[in-house]
Symmetry: C2
Amino acid sequence: MKKNKQVGYLGPEGTFSHEAVLKVVNDDSVIVPYDNIIHIFESLENDEIDEAIVPIENSTEGSVLVTLDALMHFDLNINKELELPIKHNLLVQKGKNLDDIVVICSHQQALAQCRNYLNGINKQVHAMPSTANAARYVTELSTAAVIGNEILSEKYNLEILEHNIQDYDNNVTRFVLISKESQDEITGGDKTSIVISLKGDKPGGLYEILKVFADLGINLTKIESRPSKRGMGKYLFFIDMQGHKNEPNIVKALSKIESEVGLLKILGSYATINVGGN
Amino acid sequence: MKKNKQVGYLGPEGTFSHEAVLKVVNDDSVIVPYDNIIHIFESLENDEIDEAIVPIENSTEGSVLVTLDALMHFDLNINKELELPIKHNLLVQKGKNLDDIVVICSHQQALAQCRNYLNGINKQVHAMPSTANAARYVTELSTAAVIGNEILSEKYNLEILEHNIQDYDNNVTRFVLISKESQDEITGGDKTSIVISLKGDKPGGLYEILKVFADLGINLTKIESRPSKRGMGKYLFFIDMQGHKNEPNIVKALSKIESEVGLLKILGSYATINVGGN
């Protein structure tokens, strides 16, 4: 009998990551909550789970830095991506109002996505490991409120004090499905992610790399810099492009830039899972 | 009698920003602590202070996103920069040890710069408005510890439990001095910062922009992407270059790219203040 597939996600239940994992798994998969993103990568590396879904980028706040850094440091592949619309709400114990609240708790990314709202109400802010952790905390403390998913209201018996408090309406989080396996089949609608460092750490050298892609007609969908952590002014660049790593023009581009960069790591080729709005 | 210059910083006393502001002000300046970076920008805009020092980038954790976003949205100029070595310590109430500690508090950037350390000790983590706020909190709660500057130990009567807990040894934070004034004089050792958006939001279009700088022999020291907050895949690029905005090759480059970008904002030209190690 085949073992059910184990799929990790950033738990506990009720987080946006939980919503995302439910959109990608089959009925016979087992989903496994983790308390932080690094532990998810470690479990994949140790074969404790088969695959995992992790948040990688938000349209308001930018990249999920832990995920980018982990993709750089672990040998895992991106096999799918999906984009989930994110709507934030302020939830409190039933019967409480904003005047009762001293501290607002949530995951750091959720807090950042509601920065204008938080500046407007001028309360203390606590970053917690997840929106669900924060919700549990609020069930125990009547002067605390949580920012998160509507689902939290049922799950933790909380009242939604305000809806849609995210700073920008078109707030979307992009998730990626990662595993040890590599998606080698071309679907025709693929994207490929790579990370590079520049020889001599000269940001201007990025020009030579982008030229290779431009000359071969490859469309880049993202260019993101991250400090390489080896000192000020030294960066890694995360680049996403349309096309599969086994398509001829991408094969050509990657072999061409390989000699021009300090480091080239292919993070995977993957198709996009379409999800409806929520 | 001339009014003393008022210089804002991210307070309270004892933060790394406090250390930075002391390195740039004259003896007759008055330094003014603020509780968040947006309030500093607002006060400058309303002429309540003359200039301010704000953190913009850390060699481990990357850009200070609030500062980048505020530089984009307020009409202020960068007039100077300085780089400050950052060493983090774990401080507790006197006589306490790590087993007594339930929660670790600090500013979000400090927590991020000690991520490996925090993953290793597995305690609850609270983000607070500043390292000094967190230290004050620790004086009231014996089960809390703060990550921050050595200075905090004297100021808040705390004990340093561990020294140098930052994940990377060459941890440096870059600060910029901002005001309504513009630094129009060429010193010969200047840098210029700009922010651009790409026409049609095609990241590949960055290639055309970088080509202009490459062709004119302008050395770029930083290329950083930020979401433009108008939806997934739409970015702003923050670009730093060597040279002053009034030097001929930079004048030429900026006028050339102006027609090729969606938006071009010059954030200022500035010299670097040299500070010793700490």
